[in-house]
Symmetry: C2
Subunit: 325 residues, 2 copies
């Protein structure tokens, strides 16, 4: 079946079509632009919730608890678990997913793990497109959970309307949160495993740090939880609901969506140009230049500069079907 028909079936509620589209998107298939163009009119309704924090903070468990409460309210929930950078925790994540699948044999939930080690920004792009698939499919909330707090994770969090940062006492102090750039993206902090030593101190440090910021219309809550025992989930979901209402009434969501759309154009161009350059460099026209670089008679910077400075060479490089000869 062609990709466009798959989109139409997915939009009609076919979960198998949704899963197949996710696989295409995750593999960055050539059909991705056609798929996304077909469903773009249907996206923008879901509230996207990003959940991030250091490994071992109990994010999956918290997401599990939150999803249960959102389902109890009748909201349809999509979950995307991104684990690009820690194959060593792969087992645990997979275990969580299996647990969640069992817990939610429920047409109102769709869970997808994204663990492909892609390169060239592939993971944030795949995550973004999978969020949009879930959005177009009709999920009210889409939770994107990332393991780790590196650049890939920050890129992914840019998708979110509400960002929840989950911390644990042993993960470090508030200064490290600031250093990691989490203060700029957090709409809500959760100090998880709050029965452990240091939880009070971490909560106080975070609250203090937040009072030092210029006043904004949204006050970032610092909540405590023990997700494993389902303690503290309700206040987290309530805070999420307050933030959801806040972003809707303050037009912040529309603003973010506009910025995201513009960013998408850049991303799509980058991805396609990368593909064309990779193919173009292998074409006959540039073979001798690349060969002198391989042989060490020309340095790569000189070679690249030469291509970039020559509009004809650049056009040949970027032609959809590089000319051989």
């Amino acid at each position: 079946m062609d990709a466009v028909s798959l989109v139409d079936r997915m939009l009609a509620g076919d979960r198998t079509a949704l899963a197949r589209l996710m696989t295409l998107v995750e593999g960055r298939a050539a059909a991705v632009p056609a798929i996304m163009a077909r469903l773009y009119a249907r996206v923008g309704k879901a509230h996207v919730i990003g959940v991030t924090g250091p490994p071992g903070a109990g994010k999956s468990t918290l997401v599990d608890r939150m999803a249960a409460q959102l389902r109890a309210q009748g909201r349809k929930v999509g979950i995307v678990a991104v684990d690009p950078s820690s194959p060593f925790s792969g087992g645990a994540v997979l275990g969580d997913r299996i647990r969640m699948q069992a817990h939610f044999l429920d047409p109102g939930v769709f869970i997808r793990s994204l663990s492909t080690r892609g390169s060239h920004g592939g993971i944030p792009r795949a995550a973004r497109d999978i969020v949009r698939l879930l959005d177009a499919f009709g999920m009210d909330d889409v939770i994107v959970e990332t393991v780790g707090v590196g650049q890939t994770e920050l890129d992914i969090m840019r998708l979110a309307d509400t960002v929840i940062v989950v911390l644990v006492p042993e993960a470090g102090d508030a200064v490290q949160v600031m250093k990691a750039g989490l203060l700029e993206i957090a709409d809500l902090f959760v100090v998880n495993k709050a029965d452990r030593e240091g939880a009070d101190r971490l909560q106080q440090e975070l609250s203090q740090m937040l009072t030092l910021r210029p006043a904004t219309e949204w006050t970032i809550p610092v909540l405590r939880a023990q997700a494993k025992d389902d303690v503290g989930t309700t206040p987290v979901v309530e805070a999420l609901e307050r933030h959801r209402a806040f972003v809707r009434t303050h037009d912040r969501r529309d603003e973010r969506e506009r910025a995201r759309r513009a960013g998408d154009v850049l991303d799509i161009l980058d991805e396609e140009l990368h593909r064309r350059v990779r193919e173009g460099l292998a074409s006959d026209g540039l073979a001798s230049l690349v060969e002198s670089v391989r042989a060490g008679t020309m340095d790569p910077y000189t070679a690249a500069t030469r291509i970039l400075a020559d509009p004809q060479a650049l056009a040949a490089l970027l032609a959809k079907e590089p000319r051989h000869g």
Copy 2:
């Protein structure tokens, strides 16, 4: 001082010039191509050693011990510690660096931490160029240490002539090593913290897994160490020396270097085209197209496809100085 003069001073042995060049390279300054072209003839002598593995495996400690032994042999050692994805361990890494700096107030050692959260492949590129700076500076060995085992880390490990994968019993089993793609890149396994429970089992699993591979000329050793107590460092350094001799006699190093050079051309083109597209999209010529995407009247995929399909639009987009109007 201009960048080219800095390169000349660095090549004459000026450590301050080296540090300043590293800062330029880390920030992906506009002068990077000129810097790298100037020193390219001087690179290719150093043996590049990649050390990777999961967080908490004791990599920094092992690198510290190895560097001490290499120094005792009179080899000059550069160390690049890359920590792109775990700001939460930033404190510890910084602490290690300070310890190492104190230990090695020695002109034969140069240590650089690389923790900038760059995007668009910036970290692997900065790491690569810093390795080349250390190489051109005259270091005999350059050790690149990465925290984590994600795509960024695997990209960085491609720089290395010898890859050492450090594991600890609690990091998971051999199957996870395979899943993480570490089996394909490892030239040497070290089971660190070998006094802990599970070390025997991990070592056996790894050895068994390695016997299942087709025979190759290099037999991958699986060594045990307790780097903290400086136990097992000598066998690791001896195995490293055997591998160094192996790659030199089997021409594998030249092959890798040729592939790296060709890969560099692609990387440099990608980086520059990304910059041009970002600027080009902001130019007057494309403002109305981008505006319809922001407003939601055109989807980003259609907009990008339209630009890509029009050679003139593409040429305008990628012109070094985008035309306004």
